[in-house]
Amino acid sequence: APQPPAAKTPAAPLSGLSGMKMAAVLSGPVNDAGWNANAYQALTEARDKYGLEIAYTEYVKVEDAAQVMRDYADAGFQIIMAHGNEYSDQISEVAREYPDLHFIQTNGSEAGIPNLYTVGFAIGEGGYLMGWLACKISQTGKVAFIIGEQYPAVQYQAQMVGQACADLGLQAKVLETYVGSWTDPTKTKELTKAALEQGVDVIILMADSGDSGAIEAVREAYAAGSTSLRIISWVKDKNHLAPEFVLGGWTEDVSREIDATLQLIAAGEPGGHFAFGLAEGVVYPNPMYGLVPAEVESEFNQLLQDYLQDPSIFPNLVVRRDL
């Protein structure tokens, strides 16, 4: 199985971070088992790794964010993070007010403020590689991408899924389907059932807390004899939820995203917009747990190696760093 590539170690010493205070502005609770939980995990990992002192505020409405960040700035925090695109204006404003402090925004796009690091994931690699895998292992020639809601980045990933299949000359049909909610496992289950009725046998699953519903639907069909069904999980490796058919899939690793950003800061790199991809080890494929034919797995690994050496081997894989 492929191991996620190790993050590149930066040249500059990291000692500068030790003892610094870092605070985060979050839109929801840290136990949402998703978006904010990831941020929370990133914070605690950074604390353990660099000896940071950390703090966070949950349920911050956009219009209050500036004030919350100012409060942290005034309380002596040197690194202030806003988790989410919605805080763009607020963090830009406060970053200008406190030029000596460092500001991090996930999913941001602002590039012109020297102490503001807007960071995101490179979009496209995941869709392309997982699309390749899905179409390759599908026996029925039908693959479904089950998504919570329609966002630009997600749509682009879906586009890349289809692109990969087409590029490989695979005749698989890719269904792009939306639950209409990130928090509705019941409906996700029904959507999955409907997809299975259509003969779909591989599902790329990106429905957040709806994921459990899709897994449940496949579990039932699997128990009824459809043992060739596979789910490719997304955002995190969810193999442990159903080891018999859930592949590790694709990870977008917030902890590594933050870590990479902290390293930029420690290295004295000026702010700007950064999108981390496969090369930086921030997004990566997970193990397949023997759920795909061995030859497919080794072909995948080979392609991955080749791509890391020379991205031009996939001319139609256009990585976007602006979404």
Binding site: L175, K187, K193, S209, D211, H240
Partner: protein
């Protein structure tokens, strides 16, 4: 495209899905209907269902049995109903606002409860998806074997049967028992009922407990019926749809059944249209149930048919 649509309507799985998706709506709506007929606005079913959903998972986890889960779901739902009753019946608070507060409160409370039980203590972050025992289908012996109809109607988890059985049961309760008569009297004219020695307060408490119990079952259907886990806010609006089904059905059991089926159908259809790659934008499909609601409001409005004392606090005068 027309062929694709027709093929949806030709498949038994579609009708099975319709029944499945109508079930939580029907359970909640039948419970709510009884309280509505006693003059209570049951816009709170979303919160009550959520309580039932978390109760189901916790009960199933603690007792190791899905029946324990159902029991706790009913208890949690009834506790939510009780809270409503204390606020709206005893204290006389504004019903709609009480419902809103209850729904919001349930969202927070269920998270905390879940964290307490599965996170090993207060506020702890639950890192993993929890799995518990869940209901499996009961195939009805002979009926289940009938071709086509068998799988559609007679191979479901027990709560599905229960949901559909509540329709005649609630009808009987409302129109053929003295309890039902009292409920209707309290909903239409609480002062007249009071003058005849009917305890408006008791009737309203009891109907809210009933509504809570059924909303709890509806929630359990989601958490340990369809799934075997719990997710924050997993009812995602089904309580509101159930409420709408009551209005759609003009406060009559059969009408409510029709409403629940219609919403179930709209949803099942919507999902299938997506998987058939039929060229209808998904936003339009997601909006479909609401369009149906609006149409229903327009078509079936006319003379107000809701219980005359709906939403009104009852207080005896001049003591």
């Amino acid at each position: 495209m027309l062929n694709d649509l027709l093929s949806i309507f030709a498949s038994p799985e579609f009708y099975q899905a319709v029944l499945r998706m109508a079930t939580p709506l029907l359970l909640a709506a039948m419970g709510g209907l009884v309280a509505e007929r006693a003059g209570l606005v049951t816009f709170s079913m979303e919160g009550m269902m959520l309580m039932g959903a978390v109760g189901g998972v916790i009960g199933s986890h603690l007792t190791g049995s899905v029946w324990g889960g159902l029991l706790l779901a009913v208890i949690f739902g009834m506790l939510a109903g009780l809270t409503y009753a204390v606020m709206a019946v005893s204290i006389g608070a504004h019903q709609i606002v009480t419902c809103v507060a209850l729904n919001m409160g349930a969202m927070g409370l269920t998270s905390v409860l879940f964290g307490l039980v599965f996170g090993g203590g207060s506020g702890a972050v639950v890192q993993d998806v929890i799995q518990v025992a869940s209901l499996s289908p009961w195939k009805i012996p002979l009926l289940g074997e009938i071709p086509i109809l068998g799988p559609i109607f007679f191979n479901h988890i027990p709560l599905v049967y229960l949901a559909f059985l509540t329709v005649p049961a609630v009808w009987f309760l409302l129109y053929r028992t003295t309890w039902g008569l009292k409920i209707r009297a309290v909903g239409e004219h609480p002062h007249a009922a009071d003058a005849l020695g009917i305890s408006v307060v008791r009737v309203r408490y009891l109907t809210l407990l009933f509504a809570g119990a059924f909303a709890g079952l509806a929630g359990a259907f989601l958490s340990i019926g369809v799934l075997n886990t719990w997710q924050e806010n997993m009812t995602s609006g089904r309580g509101f749809i159930a409420y709408t089904a009551i209005v759609f059905g003009k406060w009559q059991p059969l009408g409510v059944l029709l409403g629940a089926l219609l919403f179930g159908l709209a949803d099942a259809l919507q999902l299938r249209v997506q998987t058939m790659n039929i060229a209808i934008p998904y936003q339009a499909m997601v909006a479909f149930p609401y369009v149906v609601t609006l149409l229903a409001l327009i078509l079936f409005s006319g003379k107000a048919s809701w219980p005359a004392a709906s939403g009104q606090a009852f207080k005896r005068e001049g003591k």
